[in-house]
């Protein structure tokens, strides 16, 4: 199944892609998902994270089949 990873807006443009998939080895946190996919790139400051469409802390545990998203501060309205 794997963890579905999504990037939005300026972060997606910076990374050059909108999605990733990660096969987790055991239990991982949101921060560890990022580190596994982008070992050379620290998570940019102010980046917001979500798990299964809910805001989440970088320390939140992610399970196989979850959807994780990384995006910049929101600017709607």
């Amino acid at each position: 199944m794997g963890i579905q990873v999504k990037y939005f807006a300026s972060l997606r443009d910076r990374l050059g892609r909108a999605e990733d998939r990660l096969e987790p080895r055991g239990e991982v946190t949101v921060a560890e998902v990022w580190a596994a996919l982008w070992p050379e790139t620290p998570l940019p400051p102010n980046t917001l994270t979500a798990v299964n469409l809910e805001y989440a802390d970088p320390g939140q545990v992610v399970r196989d089949g979850d959807e994780v998203a990384f995006f910049p501060p929101v600017t709607g309205g």
Binding site: K6, F8, A9, S10, D13, A50, L53, E54, Y55, A69, F71, P72, P73, V74, T75, G76, G77
Partner: protein, 146 residues
């Protein structure tokens, strides 16, 4: 209560009229106050000219959070009904971006809830603006304070 995302331009006053007509049928004589907020696209940001804008969102998460923001307002104030419409996609200057309308028996709840829904939407709903300026496209990094 209605929350909608629109990918094409919409006329907020027309939407308001249509929705209020349906409310008049469903809850005749109940509301004494209607507060509305309409956000419209400017052709400037700071000193720069803005020619167009793209509004990106996170399908699924955006709708969920808009619903939750409205539900929280309805829990806090005695509201009779609410209408929220927000654009996504390509916009031109003068295009409406967002409509928030709140109906209640008295004005205090309508004013407060309309403001609250708008502020919560701006800080929590996952939307992102990319402006097409004379210097090229640029992501808006943060919202201007109220």
């Amino acid at each position: 209560m209605k929350v909608e995302l629109r990918s094409k331009p919409f006329d907020p006053l027309l939407e308001l009229g249509l929705y209020q007509a349906s409310l008049d049928e469903r809850r005749p004589g109940r509301y004494g106050a209607t507060a509305i907020f309409i956000g419209t696209m400017r052709d400037f940001n700071g000193d720069e000219t803005v020619r167009g804008m793209t509004l990106e969102h996170y399908p699924g998460m955006t709708e969920r959070h808009l619903q939750r923001i409205v539900a929280a307002a309805r829990g806090e104030w005695p509201l009779l009904d609410t209408l929220v419409i927000h654009r996504v996609g390509e916009l031109q200057p003068n295009d409406p971006i967002v409509l928030v309308a709140v109906w209640s028996a008295h004005r205090a709840a309508a004013f407060a809830a309309c403001r609250c829904i708008m502020e919560e939407l701006k800080s929590k709903a996952p939307f992102w603006k990319r402006e097409d300026t004379t210097d090229g496209p640029r992501w808006v990094e943060h919202n201007t304070p109220g």
